[in-house]
């Protein structure tokens, strides 16, 4: 008798648990699932509201992937994303390592370095324009120093496919993010293990690579995952600071969508699905690689 009662209570608890999880699950499933299903369906030729319904039709992907400009766009997108992620990672870790030390005006500095986290990317873009543009501050400084005497002699930093401006904006915004994440992890693990290693005779380099680095690795993985995914899907910086054709994939998708020829929207959707696919494959293999490493060092 009491056993059935227990069981009933357990069942009620479970139901109550799922009720609490339901709202958040519902919102994400509807938005994500809806976007996913419709996005994929549309990229395969399902768009009855335009009078187009040739589902399943792989010609949009075929047209997109068969064009060399798509691969150049993809290359650019990945190049900006990877370069910015790597630079932010190195700069952020160095910053976090300095932040755990004690120094005067540390409390002020902790406000200062977080500022880019708090403001939109568009502000970073405006700053890049005023600093790096041909008529910008750096160009004026170079003229002041006598290196150039005309704005056109200033090396083109913005609006080239080298993407220095785009990368600068990402780094400006994401270095503090990496630093904050790593700094929090460093605070969490404390310094005892580092101390122990140092007392056992490890030098600075050994302490960092064999003690500190494995400890902050989870923070490194999660922060780089987040910024890399953002960089692949970012629109505003490549749109304003990019070098024009070929654009990065999100900008390409947006141009398809705003094209007067609305059937191009299906090609745009194929672009969108391609972005998600590329990001998914890269992030998945990155995580799988990391899991294997963790197993090898025996963490899980």
């Amino acid at each position: 008798m009491s056993k059935t009662k227990e069981l009933a209570r357990h069942k009620r608890d479970r139901t109550w648990m799922w009720i609490q999880l339901l709202p958040v699950m519902l919102v994400l499933t509807v938005l994500f699932g809806g976007a996913l299903v419709l996005g994929v369906a549309q990229s395969l030729g399902f768009a009855p509201w335009f009078g187009v319904n040739t589902f399943p039709d792989f010609s949009y992907f075929g047209a997109l992937w068969g064009d060399s400009f798509f691969w150049r766009s993809l290359g650019l997108t990945l190049y900006y994303a990877i370069a910015a992620t790597l630079i932010s990672l190195v700069m952020g870790v160095l910053l976090a390592l300095a932040l755990v030390r004690s120094f005067p005006s540390k409390s002020l500095y902790k406000y200062l370095y977080k500022l880019p986290l708090m403001i939109p990317y568009t502000v970073g873009i405006a700053l890049a324009v005023i600093m790096l543009g041909n008529g910008g501050m750096l160009s004026r400084l170079m003229a002041f120093a006598g290196f150039i005497d005309d704005p056109s002699q200033f090396p083109q930093i913005l609006k080239t496919h080298m993407g220095w401006g785009i990368i600068a904006v990402y780094v400006w915004k994401q270095t503090p993010f990496v630093a904050l994440t790593i700094y929090a992890v460093l605070l969490g693990v404390g310094r005892e293990t580092e101390e122990a290693a140092a007392i056992l005779g490890a030098n600075k380099r050994q302490v960092f690579f064999q003690v500190t680095l494995p400890q902050i690795l989870p923070g490194i993985i999660s922060s780089t995952l987040i910024i890399f995914a953002f960089n692949i899907g970012a629109f505003e910086a490549p749109f304003i600071l990019g070098g024009g054709f070929p654009d990065t994939l999100p900008v390409v998708a947006w141009r398809y969508f705003n094209d007067a020829d609305y059937t191009l929207q299906l090609q745009g959707m194929a672009t969108v699905v391609s972005i998600a696919l590329v990001a998914g494959v890269i992030l998945y293999s990155y995580l799988a690689f990391y899991r294997r490493y963790e197993r090898r060092i025996g963490r899980h």
């Binding site: 994500f32 976007a35 509201w49 708090m118 939109p120 005779g201 302490v207």
Partner: protein, 287 residues
């Protein structure tokens, strides 16, 4: 000998390189704001002058305020409209997000169930699915059901990137809370409602404030989703700034608007420093 090398490896103070590095980073982060502020007060600033040739002070007879700022505070610039929109959308998003995330965070912090890791991964999906992909796909749906270009549409899409942050921060709060106090109250005969009102809520409040502030912050900084869903009908501070600088040049009024867009971030920075501890942030992202 060993002790000496240990103290070298574990120096609590900054090395000279690190000092230099901190200075360089500070310059990198804050430096660009200097020409921005100067630009917003300039009347004419020709290349290659390091400072404006004509400041607004010398042109007082033409305009009382610096020209850029006169434009920024005028209704033509849409700055007020954008600010109100940003704050309004941010507040609504924060409230909705709090209500749907609070119960889920409680479960995630306390219960273990089959498929929990998968569920947690699902909840962090918005952080790793490119925004452009989600934004454009949803835009198609929203255009069809008439939500594009409406506040409702924007608020709904803002939930996507804010949910993972809110969930992580609230879960961390619940984990720190523990169950003991609630159980004691229950033993002493408190009802569920009483426990919630008199025990759980007061202990959760600092965490909730932190999560809400952070969600608000994320919402106010969203550009892409607002830009896609707003369809140019609803401007927020990031989209307004985008339209001013999308040509790739920055005039005095754009500089003024950039500074205005920076202000909410500075205010939130001053507040959040007090509420959000680095450790809490680490709990949210260190895994």
């Amino acid at each position: 000998m060993a002790r000496k090398s240990a103290s070298i490896a574990l120096n609590e103070r900054l090395s000279p390189y690190q000092k230099l590095y901190l200075l360089l980073i500070a310059g990198f982060i804050l430096g660009p704001f200097i020409p921005l502020i100067i630009q917003s007060f300039a009347f004419r600033w020709a290349w290659p002058d390091l400072l404006p040739g004509t400041w607004w002070l010398e042109q007082r007879e033409r305009a009382v305020l610096p020209l850029a700022w006169d434009y920024v505070i005028s209704p033509y610039s849409q700055v007020w409209e954008a600010t109100l929109n940003t704050v309004f959308i941010g507040c609504v998003v924060t409230v909705i997000c709090l209500f749907i995330c609070l119960p889920a965070a409680r479960v995630l912090a306390r219960e273990s169930f089959k498929g929990k890791p998968a569920f947690e991964f699902f909840l962090s999906m918005p952080l790793i699915v490119p925004e452009a992909a989600i934004g454009i796909a949803l835009l198609m749906i929203f255009i069809n059901i008439g939500l594009a270009g409406t506040y409702t549409g924007i608020i709904i899409v803002h939930l996507i990137p804010t949910i993972p942050y809110m969930i992580r921060m609230l879960t961390a709060v619940y984990q720190g809370l523990g169950r003991d106090f609630e159980e004691q109250a229950m033993i002493l005969g408190a009802s569920r409602w009483q426990i919630l009102r008199m025990v759980t809520m007061p202990m959760l409040l600092p965490g909730i404030v932190a999560g809400a502030l952070f969600t608000f912050l994320v919402s106010t900084n969203i550009f892409l989703l607002t830009f896609f869903m707003g369809q140019g009908k609803i401007v927020t501070l990031p989209t307004l700034l985008f339209s001013k600088i999308s040509g790739g040049t920055l005039d005095a009024s754009a500089a003024g608007i950039t500074l205005v867009v920076t202000v909410p971030g500075i205010i939130l920075l001053l507040i959040t420093e007090r509420f959000i501890k680095e450790e809490a942030f680490g709990k949210g992202f260190g895994n």
